[in-house]
Amino acid sequence: MLYRETGQFKTSYSADQAIFPIFQDRMFILGWLIVAFIAVPLMASEYWFQIILIPFLVFSLATLGLNILVGYCGQISLGTGGFMAVGAFSAYKLATNVPELNIIFVILISGLITALVGILFGLPSLRIKGFYLAVATLAAQFFLIWMFNKFGWFVNYSPSGSIAIPPMEIFGVMVTSAKADPVARYYLALGFTVVLALLAKNLVRGPTGRAWMAIRDMDIAAEIIGIKPLATKLKAFAVSSFFIGVAGALYFSAWSGTAESDAFDINLSFNILFMVIIGGLGSVVGSFMGAAFIVLLPIFLTNLFVGELGFSALTAKHLEITIFGALIIFFLAVEPHGLARMWQVTKEKLRIWPFPH
């Protein structure tokens, strides 16, 4: 009976409405925060930061953003890559043209710019639904990538169209570019991810989230009880794009350091959608799980095949692609509600553990 709610009585509505009303959940989150903020930086190697930890944080944030749109509001989007590109290129323009601006504001403003773009491309959602909307969001994907590729202004007229983040500091500590310590870049990504995840959790359990879920579960009924469909959907597009934009800005500033428009192609959009689905639609914690799974699985398979079993890089890659695809099908068949649901089932089991019922 490790996970017990019994005995935890709430004496006020505000206690019942706290962000993590159950004691064990609070401890769980606290534990993870300690690990993330203290243990990991002490132990991880540069390889871990660069290949696993920072991309995990960046993709978690993007997944969370897309989950708000798809999982909470029920609007499928395949334009995530394009929106991340908006975040990344905004960050580049801000960082190079307004060098006195602190990197924190650079990233936040990049998110806001992405939110505006998201609203613009969310407008068709009033009339277009389901897969028609999904394919229509590809218009955003292709148009945005084309735009960044085509107009020299976005890349400060660099002949190759490639952008690089200048070294930037927070309180005298360098946090961007290859000159920065990976730990510093990790903290930058971690800070944004943790704060935004908490904000997202609050949003989805509040009135905004309820309006989103109402639209998702039954848009007609939602409108009849007074929820404005367009305004609600656009809010979802805005918030979702803000998160994705911040993720794009972090992708560029905290993780890769350089980028070109191609990096944000449609494959990235699909990958993030995978993270959402595997993690669990409509789950904040699932977004993290999904991102972890999709980031780790290929690395794990490569290490397994090449490192342990000694396959050639080619065979390993072929097997990796095949197994990745097969695992996704397997997963969707076994638990279509994703890792978050599996986690919930585990929690329910723990509630009565060690008794089977």
Binding site: S45, P159, S160, D262, N267, G307, F331, T346
Partner: protein, 441 residues
């Protein structure tokens, strides 16, 4: 639940393999040469022969000479699928194992690695691709792009067109179209071409083709309308095959259609069948297997059953390019060993090796590659190694082989035009990134 067990297994195996990366560093009685390859994905047809050439040359050195300076070379392939983030992942993994030099074979990956490698003190050798202005060694200390660059190539191409027109002055008023892959790579040649258009008075039209380039109807409709005298193409992958087919089907004269050195391989022309006959492309090295080093590969590597690919594909354009890449890396290691008197060289020492390479005709001959390509002399200032020589090759569809055409000595780039551009771009990069150019005098 079975799934949770699986996940648990996954997690523990992952932790295991993560730790392996670290332990591998200790066991190194060989020099680790990483090879970022793409044997899968949209660009695999190009990536496979490249990777085979790279692997086979080091296999030859190991089998015939016992490695370099008595140390075996370990080539470790890492599959990128031509995807930039995966390339970076490969870089980090192989860096942790002690790799001495990287050749990314992707302009996108090269751009990503330049700042990282500079920080990590590992040389990047992007042979004929990547960032052109890295030719300025005073700014890009850790990046080498000899024997020649896209900008040099573009200027040599214009020289060749001038040659065909019967003199550079005859180019005035001629119509030249540049069809390019709409990516960092494809765009590299544009500024040079624009400057030359202004200088020499030809009409230049730039036509972009988006990745992957399956469908190019509108591009070729525009070609139909412009009726260019010459077409220059910077294509990659399926774009090349489709372009050659389209050109053939609108009856564009193939000998006036010139691909750059990434747009002139067997896999570009063979699918075009007889229609591809006469198509030309640039190159900076020879094709064919008629060199003693390549014969040695057949003897020491393939006959022992250790070849990376098919024996009959030795001598293909991209295979030979892989060979060239390995020759340069091997020579840089050799120079470094001699200079520092060690067998086990570091990335920093190999950088010295690259910067002090002097590949003259005699050295090529010693290597069993006499006449394989032009001379290369790298200096602190000039990481392009003198600008190189660009050859023109023409496809013979019936014989399925490339023949050299145009000037037998090849075409040298217009250094007077290109070099100032390189230095200006490098200076801008230095300024934006707070780099003080080092003193090369």
């Amino acid at each position: 639940m079975k799934l949770s067990k699986f996940l648990l297994g996954t997690a523990s195996a992952l932790a295991l393999s993560g730790s392996l990366v670290v332990t591998d560093m200790a066991v190194a009685q060989e020099i680790l040469v990483p090879s970022l390859v793409y044997r899968t994905g949209a660009y695999a047809p190009n990536g496979v022969p490249l990777a085979n050439g790279i692997a086979d040359y080091f296999a030859l050195l190991n089998a015939r000479d016992g490695g370099i300076g008595g140390v075996k070379i370990k080539v470790e392939e890492c599959e990128t699928g031509y995807k930039t983030p995966v390339g970076v992942e490969c870089y980090e993994a192989l860096k942790a194992k002690g790799a001495v030099a990287f050749s990314p074979f992707s302009t996108g990956i090269t751009y990503q690695l330049i700042p990282k490698a500079t920080q990590d003190k590992i040389p990047i050798f992007s042979m004929g691709y990547g960032r052109t202005s890295a030719a300025d060694g005073s700014v890009f200390k850790w990046v080498f792009n000899f024997p020649t660059t896209y900008w040099s190539q573009a200027s040599a191409v214009i020289k060749y067109f001038g040659d065909r027109a019967g003199g550079m002055d005859k180019l005035k008023g001629k119509k030249i179209v540049h069809i390019y892959h709409n990516s960092a790579y494809g765009k590299e040649a544009n500024p040079t071409l624009e400057i030359l258009a202004k200088k020499l008075g030809f009409n230049l039209t730039l036509l972009a083709v988006d990745h992957p380039g399956q469908e190019q109807k509108s591009t070729w409709l525009q070609v139909r309308r412009i009726k260019p005298d010459y077409i220059f193409m910077s294509g990659w992958g399926v774009m090349n095959q489709v372009a050659i087919k389209e050109a053939a089907s609108i009856n564009f004269p193939m000998e006036n259609f010139l691909g750059n050195w990434w747009s002139g391989t067997e896999s570009d022309t063979i699918p075009g069948g007889a229609g591809a006959n006469g198509y030309t492309s640039t190159n900076f090295h020879s094709v064919g297997a008629n060199f003693s080093a390549l014969n040695d590969i057949k003897k020491y590597v393939y006959d022992a059953g250790n070849g990376a690919g098919k024996k009959e594909r030795i001598g293909e354009v991209l295979y030979n390019r892989g060979i060239v890449n390995s020759v340069f890396v091997a020579e840089a290691i050799r120079v470094a060993q001699k200079k520092f008197g060690v067998k086990q060289v570091t990335g920093e020492q190999v950088r010295y090796g690259f910067e002090n390479l002097n590949m003259d005709a005699a050295r090529w001959k010693e290597l069993g590659l006499g006449g394989f390509m032009g001379n290369v002399k790298v200096t602190c200032k000039d990481h392009e190694g003198g600008g190189g020589v660009v050859f023109i090759q023409k496809w013979d569809a019936s014989g399925k082989k490339w023949d050299r055409v145009g000037s037998a000595k090849g075409y040298t780039p217009m250094r007077d035009v290109v070099r100032p551009l390189v230095e200006a771009d490098a200076a801008a990069f230095a300024k934006e990134n707070g780099i003080t150019p080092r003193d090369c005098s």
